[in-house]
């Protein structure tokens, strides 16, 4: 089952005093994330990563498109009990202590009082805040707040965890701890979707990554393929008006973004795939070898023109 299925989500902001100007926050995004996957959402600042997460959390409304989380509409309240979210640079009610805060969020998530009493101390210990449960949050450092943020995101034992820049502002030790925490979540079978612009974190943690720039999906890749230096696979990009079913036969990682589709095929299948495109009269845009480092891939995708010419 898919953990997250994004079907053409789009967000256009009205800006300026009279709200007459339009700014694209996210252009028709299509994305599928499998259950149990750690998926990295990469992109520079302003790429649309936070916009995507806000859309999925129902904090902003899409201009177009829809999404499904755990096979249910993303805005369904029942889904909210099965997902966890850490906002970027989280800030919590500073008049509360971590115990009070987690108790509050636990109540909102529908956890019973005995369960809350049981889970909260364990969770605080797990995020390295044992002994700090009674201190008001206004006395916490940024790193400690990040730990509280992670704790609240997993308190209700969600199946999918969305983390917006979880390593942002942390020192190397803190980053390592968050990395370990994400790995442990994944070992428990949870799906983790996290945004970052720190490529090393993505390389260390993710099964797959998507690169986003200026609100547009630039590419999706399996991290192991990128880092293996094995160039036996190719990314084929074409006009998505045709040939999608035919191409799915070659690569099970076919993604559509707006009018552009991408798939990854093995070298042995490349010729057949290109012929399939030709037979369907689909316009080929590019064929690129998949391999090298994540950084190379990231920079390559950022360097691509904003819009693929027809």
């Amino acid at each position: 089952m898919l953990a997250v299925e994004i079907l053409g989500l789009e967000k256009t902001y009205a800006i300026g005093f009279w709200k007459k100007k339009r700014k694209d926050g996210l252009k028709s995004l299509h994305l599928e994330i499998q259950q149990g996957e750690v998926f990295g959402f990469l992109g520079p600042n302003g790429a649309g990563k936070t916009t995507t997460l806000k859309l999925l959390m129902g904090l902003i409304s899409p201009t177009a498109g829809t999404a499904r989380i755990l096979n249910q509409p993303w805005h369904d309240p029942a889904v909210r009990a099965r997902i966890g979210f850490l906002p970027e640079q989280p800030y919590f009610y500073d008049h509360l202590t971590p115990i009070e805060l987690l108790d509050y969020y636990g109540t909102l998530s529908g956890i019973s009082a005995p369960d809350r009493r049981l889970r909260i101390p364990k969770l605080l210990e797990r995020v390295g805040l044992a002994g700090q449960g009674g201190t008001q949050l206004r006395k916490f450092s940024k790193g400690m707040l990040q730990r509280v943020g992670i704790a609240q995101a997993v308190l209700h034992e969600p199946e999918v965890v969305f983390l917006d820049e979880p390593m942002s502002g942390l020192d190397p030790v803190g980053r390592r701890e968050v990395r370990n925490f994400i790995q442990s979540l994944n070992r428990e079978g949870k799906t983790v979707f996290f945004s970052t612009h720190i490529l090393g974190d993505a390389e260390a943690l993710c099964h797959r990554v998507a690169v986003l720039n200026k609100g547009e999906l630039r590419g999706i890749s399996v991290v192991a393929d990128l880092t293996s230096q094995n160039r036996s696979r190719f990314e084929v990009v074409w006009q998505a008006t045709a040939a999608i079913p035919a191409m799915r036969a070659f690569g099970n990682e076919t993604h559509v973004a707006g009018e552009v589709a991408r798939t990854i095929v093995r070298e042995s299948q490349l010729q057949a795939a290109l012929e399939a495109l030709k037979s369907q009269s689909a316009q080929l845009i590019s064929v690129n070898p998949v391999g090298g480092s994540l950084e190379e891939y990231f920079l390559q995708k950022l360097g691509e023109p904003d819009k693929v010419p027809r």
Binding site: M57, F85, P90, Y91, Y93, L96, L108, S109, A153
Partner: protein
């Protein structure tokens, strides 16, 4: 649903109680009540009237200040600090959030009003040495003041659901001032004709009738407050608050949180 609303309300109450600004306001209100008997000493024969007027006015002013300034920040502060994000990413509806915040502030004001009322009755007892039946009548005036707070919180929440804190404060304050002169507005509407008459009539329905909720002068002169007025004012407040909260929920539900 009620558990979530109760949790949000309790958190709002707890935040207000732990906020030092709120303590200062209550402290000054109590101080004013405490100084009222001293002022009465210099006004021979009108001590009781002066004490009631001054104390109830203090309860009113401080309650209105809290209603407006805490009310407008209920939603805007949560958006600005992004504390709202972990709340709304859970199975919490935006309507539940607004209702919870509203109930939390209403509860805070109830406790504050009760504390100030206790202070007032202590001051009254110190001055008069004993209570009379007329003193119980004052509770009706205080109840009406609380109803005013209920109306103002609704308006503050409504304005803050679509405008900046500064503008929300300005709008809510304007509505309070206009509402305090609602009787004059209704009189003007009755006398006016044509477009301005229509406009005045429309305004008289939109503006809350706070004048009807102010019986401080009447109770200070031991005038009887009919039970029908208590019933009418209670119903009016419930309807007005429901309308403002509904509008706030409708607007807030469509709002993008940036």
């Amino acid at each position: 649903m009620t558990t979530r609303i109760r949790a949000i309300a309790f958190n709002t109450f707890r935040e207000a109680v732990r906020d030092r600004v709120l303590y200062n306001l209550v402290f000054f209100a109590l101080l004013l009540v405490a100084t009222a008997p001293l002022l009465g000493e210099i006004s021979i024969g009108v001590q009781r009237v002066l004490l009631i007027n001054l104390s109830l006015s203090a309860i009113s002013i401080f309650g209105i200040v809290i209603s407006i300034f805490v009310g407008i920040s209920l939603v805007s502060k949560e958006i600005e600090r992004r504390t709202l994000y972990p709340v709304l990413s859970r199975p919490v509806g935006r309507g539940e959030f607004i209702l919870g915040k509203y109930c939390g502030l209403a509860g805070t004001l109830l406790v504050n009003t009760m504390a100030m009322t206790t202070g007032f009755y202590v001051a009254l007892l110190l001055m008069t040495r004993s209570f009379t039946r007329a003193d119980a009548n004052i509770l009706i005036a205080i109840y009406f003041l609380f109803l005013q707070f209920i109306v103002i919180i609704g308006l503050a929440l409504l304005f803050s659901s679509f405008s900046s804190p500064l503008l929300s404060a300005l709008f809510a304050l304007s509505m309070f001032v206009a509402g305090s002169f609602a009787a004059d507005l209704r009189g003007f509407a009755a006398m006016s004709h044509g477009p301005e008459g229509l406009l005045a009539r429309a305004a008289s329905y939109v503006v809350p009738n706070l004048a009807s909720l102010n019986v401080i002068t009447r109770v200070s002169h031991d005038q009887f407050i009919p039970a029908a007025l208590v019933g009418y004012n209670t119903l009016y407040t419930l309807l007005y608050a429901t309308a403002t909260i509904t509008a706030a929920v409708l607007i807030f539900s469509r709002r993008d949180l940036k």
